[in-house]
Symmetry: C2
Subunit: 109 residues, 2 copies
């Protein structure tokens, strides 16, 4: 039996609609300094980055967890390019849902 | 021996200089929904309120703890009027130290 090869699209769960995300979830995501570091790097980069391109003071599995929390809170969008999981800030959608919050938080480590 | 009666001023510890407060401490204060409720009520009131005037879904001692955390994070200023402990938002100072953050968080329960 052959297991069909899954595309990158299938490997990443759907991204939440930002209208379903509350401020509580967003603040719980942003209260962690490592997650704010990821958001700040993506904000400064102004392009999608793969997980490995963001230097973090935690193990790879912990980093994966932090990316997961950020995706669930509607802050980042993930997709695959080949075998690289790429991450981008959902900047415009997020700014619309939570005006001013991203700007108030990023770049203030 | 007579214990000198302490003035209201002496009963409240000094308030921190906002330049010594980091974003981490502020977000830890604001991540709690009861504390955001206090901040939102004070923001809407535009005047100092005593603790009892802010209806909260927690016990009095828990509420006192939340006011303490907010004071330590530089968000509120407390003083006594008679036996009432009054609370006011340190709005201008806070806005200067953390531009846009208060506006992004209040009124979004």
């Amino acid at each position: 039996m052959v297991t069909p090869r899954r595309s990158g699209q299938e490997r990443i769960p759907p991204h939440p609609d930002l209208r379903t995300i509350g401020l509580q979830q967003v603040l719980e995501a942003l209260v962690d300094p490592v997650r704010r570091q990821i958001v700040s790097v993506l904000h400064a980069a102004e392009q999608d980055l793969n997980c490995g391109a963001i230097e973090l003071p935690v193990s790879k599995s912990t980093a994966t967890h932090h990316f997961h929390v950020l995706r669930e809170a509607g802050l980042i969008r993930q997709h695959y390019v080949g075998t690289s999981r790429m991450n981008g800030l959902r900047r415009e959608e997020f700014d619309e849902a939570f005006p001013g919050l991203l700007q108030a938080v990023v770049g203030r480590q």
